[in-house]
Amino acid sequence: MCSARSARTGSITLTIISTGSTAEWQDGWRAGLVPSAIIGALALWAVASYNRLVGLRNQVLNGWRQIDVQLKRRHDLIPNLVNAVRGSMDFERDTLTAVMEARAKALTATGPADAAQKEGQLSQALGRLLAVAENYPTLKSNDNVKMLQEELSATENKVGFARQFYNDIATGFNTAQQVFPTNILANMFAFKPAELFEIAEPKDREVPTVDLSRK
């Protein structure tokens, strides 16, 4: 009932307007209603998509930096571990030295590709040290050493998960840039696909060799 009444009053109003002196735009304003709604919706979509792409790009950058955070934690932790086991593992001087040298090299890395390679070598050296430590019963029962071993494997895990998260978020960012219709927007604003974290050296894909014989 209400709607019928208002339609009648509406048409009465329109009749008054149209019979009076009017400019042409007042008659044509209704024709422009639908196109302006469409343009408005497009504008909203464009703003939302652009903001989403910007948010994803920043998360990708943050994800990359988080890997560095975990790598630095590892650098700081290694001297503690080596000192804790040095007393009991006199025989493993080679293994211990290899770890400290790899760490020193990793600290002086230049650029991401170089860093990736040197961090990979450090991971291998650490892996060998942890495996060899299994040979020492006194070490295994030492609570301090167990705690340090836990910290070290947790740090390795965190580096791995930081890389995993970076790859996940980079894939999400790349997908968002490439699906239609957002890809039009991405090209317009020059969004670049993010590079996934990859193993640089083919050697890193090999199973690391561990020598358990006492030297």
Partner: protein
Amino acid sequence: MNLLEQQASNRRKTWLIMIVFISLLLFLGFGFDALYLGAGGGFVPIGSLMALGVGSASAFAGYYRGDRAVLLATSAKPLAEVEASADEAGKLKLRQLQNVVDEMAIAAGLPRPDVYVVPDEDPNAFATGRGPGHASIAVTRGLIDTLDREELQGVVAHEMSHIRNLDVRLMTIVAALVGAVALLADWARRGMLWGGGPRRRDRERGSAAGVVLFAVWIVAILLAPVMGQMLAMMVSRRREYLADATGAELTRNPLGLARALEKIEDAAAPTRAINRGSAHLCIADPLGRQMNLKTGFWSDLFATHPPMAARIAALKAMAYQGVQP
């Protein structure tokens, strides 16, 4: 189905159940307003709005501080406190727990949740809090003692996924809907008892479709509380499957969680510390698991958690280790 396909399927099914739920509420509500309150010059669904308002108020009352209440009710202690009074072996396990939570927070890209320990020998875990940044994860002593690091990581990943998928918020909305549906059904039944039946609009008297619709509406009113509960439990089970799948995505190791679930199922005692209200937040049903051990028709409908065997099978399928037909 692989990991990502399972996630997509679970999210779709959640949407489907929510649409059915909201349609049920709208059907009941508009029927209630049309028949009982009768529209004068305009149609404002007062009854539906009031039911939704009251239902939401009670559900959302717990939304902001609810996590504190749950943690208090289960006597959960912060991890730092428990670590301070533990022996060396205990300290190592608790340190492992903290590291596992940190690792999962990194993998999910979320801020670290607070970690609590519940003093109960039965292995169980739950997550509370309205979203990332305001979340807590609690595990029982039994869980820490029973599981190894890999399995613990699977359980923590599952709980982290509940936080990431905003399941607490979803279940609060579901609770509001259940409350609204129950209230409408209650008012309609009282109206029938007192008012001697709903008023009918003069225009619609006598149409066959109107009579059929009315009959369907009456049946819906009678079954509404049960249907609401059933739909809520369906949502809860879907989110459990989704948390399993997204948790496996975090660890990339579905078998770790599968082994943890097997161990949790073997220790089949009720977790007394966790009460009925928080049951849907846990990884395994804490109420003696009677409902979840049986796989009959009714138990399937009203259980908060899916049967363990089905969850383990789904996880093994993600690891391409399912039973081949």
